[in-house]
């Protein structure tokens, strides 16, 4: 994965499919769930987390290097697959960090196992219908425009993606197709999740970029209100992809939250 950090990459057999998993570091286990546009292999955010945690970064089924399960129909199916992954690996009470679309998966996982996690961190999480505004619909914008919309500062986008290659565009198209297979309608939220979040017994941190143009901030406020023990934090000068734009600030928040009492 990253230069300087020793990542182990494996293909885990799960539900009849091969799931790509990168793992590095030591300490408390931490499952990081990526965005709907997949994830670059190398991110400062991941490489800093490994200093303190045993970090697991899977590619969602059908995204990136993970095979597409033709039968997969919902984001809740993905959450169940990750519960199986953790059980299979013997990872006990990890913390979850869900980034955007990955936040929806993390929230679903927390409702399934109310005491099963140490901490829950949702960053610009999809999954709830925003009380004010709509989740940006990638079906009507280009791959490039959608990815760029995740950034407050386009220089930060360029730092991560550079001159976007055709391979990257193809990868985004595959991710997009997968979103259309499992989160098409309602687009990127669940109508039942809000009724289930009240049962979660895990302390949660809800983080939002102050310039998130993909998921309205009102969705974050709704998560904070529905989760029994949740705190809301705004990160300045950040769009939807807080971990790519303000990695140091997000790591600071995460470290303090996961290691705090």
């Amino acid at each position: 994965m990253a230069t300087g950090t020793r990542w182990t990459e494996t293909a885990v057999e799960l539900a009849g499919t091969k799931l790509h998993l990168a793992r590095a570091g030591s300490g408390r286990p931490l499952l990081v769930l990526h965005h709907d546009i997949g994830s670059p292999d190398q991110l400062d955010f991941y490489n800093t987390l490994v200093d303190r945690f045993d970090v697991l970064v899977p590619h969602h089924p059908g995204y990136g290097k993970s095979e597409r399960p033709q039968w997969l129909r919902s984001v809740r199916d993905v959450a169940i697959m990750y519960q199986s992954l953790l059980a299979g690996l013997g990872v006990d009470r990890p913390s979850l960090i869900g980034l955007g679309f990955g936040g929806w998966i993390a929230a679903e996982m927390a409702t399934m196992a109310p005491r099963g996690f140490h901490r829950l961190v949702l960053v610009g999480a999809m999954g709830l219908k925003p009380p004010d505004g709509d989740i940006l619909d990638q079906a009507i914008v280009s791959y490039l425009d959608y990815a760029r919309a995740g950034f407050h500062d386009q220089a930060a986008f360029a730092k991560v993606y550079g001159d976007v290659s055709t391979d990257q565009l193809v990868n985004w198209d595959l991710c997009r197709e997968m979103c259309f297979r499992i989160a098409w309608k309602p687009y990127m939220y669940s109508q039942t999740l809000p009724h289930l979040l009240g049962g979660v017994r895990v302390p949660a941190l809800v983080v939002w970029g102050d310039d998130d143009r993909v998921v309205p901030k009102s969705a974050g406020e709704r998560y904070t209100a529905l989760l029994p023990e949740a705190r809301f934090e705004i990160v300045r000068d950040a769009g939807h992809c807080v971990e790519m734009e303000q990695p140091a600030e997000l790591v600071r928040l995460v470290n303090g939250f996961i290691e705090g009492n």
Partner: protein
């Protein structure tokens, strides 16, 4: 040879300049620019033209549908088909077609089509399409399951037409407790199904495996030949030899009483900047999961403006040169059509006569000349070339009704 008249039924009375400025008129161009007074007039004009076409000797009406765009006003082809079923007498009503994946209830579609078949006294040809990319978005149907839904909806419609009810349907995309429509087609075993298409190899292969005629929509002569090469190959592998009865073609052909007027009106075929289905936005017309995976690289590059559309956007002159657009008086048009017939040997031929803002008078002149001069000449050429259509040959409606298969196919459905 079966020759049909077609018009896209353009909603030509909209502020085209504003459409151009907006940049893409299919899907998101606001319907605040739709004028229902002009719409009412145009719907009635188009109906009159189809009825007039039958009076002028036209033997088939081709109808289609599109959504959210001025290039085609027909939002539900079954509606015009129903009207024409009642008010015309002889011409085939050829739907090319109903977009199956957009149907949430294919059983209802089967009922509507059965009604049209009965009301028309057995004149329905029920084509099916996947729908354009924009239309998946307009209908809110996931483009990622487009082909799966197309195939399953087809199977369900055919089951509703041919199996005695009540029965249960437990499919992947459709589940029905009770399928038992009290409206079944007059034609047996069921109305002919023709499959139109432009580019996707998957559709050509699927049509050939069903033994359904494939209708190449306004493709160049060379592209059309490639389509038949693939179709014929799949047919052989499936156990039959494909012939003209499996081949259809739709072509933009405007005739008039003078060459000058014909050219002026033929240029209206490019009223949407030469785009086949309106001025399309590359992302809206090609949502992820909709197009053939083999074109994924080209489409993503097109979507971000790095490449031309894989479908192309040729100029008027280029389209005239490669035979996609034909115009003239009957005397100059007929030899050009003869060339297409000789080169590509279809037995089903749609003549897309009028588009854009051709005046009602010129449209009727075109229809009269097509019906009275061009189509009879084409039928004669068809006889000479042995281009027998599925009706003349009483060709099997589907592969399963074949009596001449060389080997039983393994995956006929």
């Amino acid at each position: 040879m079966h020759v049909m008249y077609f018009t896209e039924q353009p909603m030509s009375e909209y502020p085209a300049k504003i459409g151009l400025e907006f940049g893409a008129t299919a899907l998101m161009f606001s319907n605040k620019y739709f004028d229902p007074v002009a719409g009412s007039r145009l719907y009635n004009e188009y109906l009159e033209q189809y009825i007039y076409a039958e009076e002028m000797g036209v033997e088939g009406f081709m109808l289609n549908e599109h959504h959210n765009a001025p290039f085609c006003m027909q939002a539900k082809c079954n509606i015009f088909a129903s009207i024409l079923a009642a008010v015309t007498k002889k011409a085939k009503i050829v739907l090319l077609g109903n977009p199956l994946p957009l149907a949430e209830n294919p059983v209802r579609l089967a009922e509507e089509l059965a009604m049209i078949d009965m009301i028309s006294k057995g004149r329905l040809v029920s084509g099916f399409v996947r729908g354009g990319g924009q239309e998946q978005l307009a209908a809110g149907v996931s483009p990622a399951y487009n082909r799966e839904r197309f195939e399953e909806a087809h199977d369900l419609v055919v089951a509703a037409w041919t199996r005695e009810g009540p029965f249960r349907w437990e499919g992947t995309h459709y589940q029905h407790r009770v399928v038992n429509p009290w409206a079944v087609p007059l034609q047996k075993p069921y109305p002919r199904v023709w499959i139109p298409g432009v580019l996707s190899k998957e559709t050509i292969v699927w049509a050939a495996k069903q033994r359904y005629p494939y209708i190449a929509l306004n493709t160049s002569i060379e592209a059309t030949k490639q389509i038949w090469k693939l179709y014929d190959q799949v047919a052989l592998e499936t156990g039959y030899t494909a012939g003209p009865e499996n081949r259809g073609y739709l072509q933009q052909v405007h005739v008039s009483d003078s060459e000058e007027k014909a050219e002026k009106n033929a240029r209206q075929f490019l009223w949407m900047q030469g785009e086949f289905t309106g001025l399309a936005h590359p992302v809206w017309s090609n949502p992820a999961g909709y197009f053939s995976p083999e074109f994924r690289r080209q489409f993503v590059e097109f979507a971000v403006g790095r490449a031309e559309s894989p479908r192309g956007r040729p100029t008027f002159e280029k389209q005239v040169a490669d035979g996609r657009v034909i115009y003239g008086t009957p005397d100059t048009v007929i030899p050009k059509l003869r060339r297409v017939l000789e080169e590509t040997r279809p037995s089903i031929y749609g003549l897309w006569g009028n588009d854009g803002s051709v005046s009602p008078e010129d449209a009727k002149t075109c229809i009269r000349l097509l019906g009275q001069e061009v189509m009879p000449a084409m039928r004669e050429i068809g006889k000479e070339l042995g281009l027998k259509d599925p009706f003349e040959l009483d060709a099997p409606v589907h592969l399963r009704y074949s009596t001449d298969l060389k080997q039983m196919p393994q995956a006929a459905e």
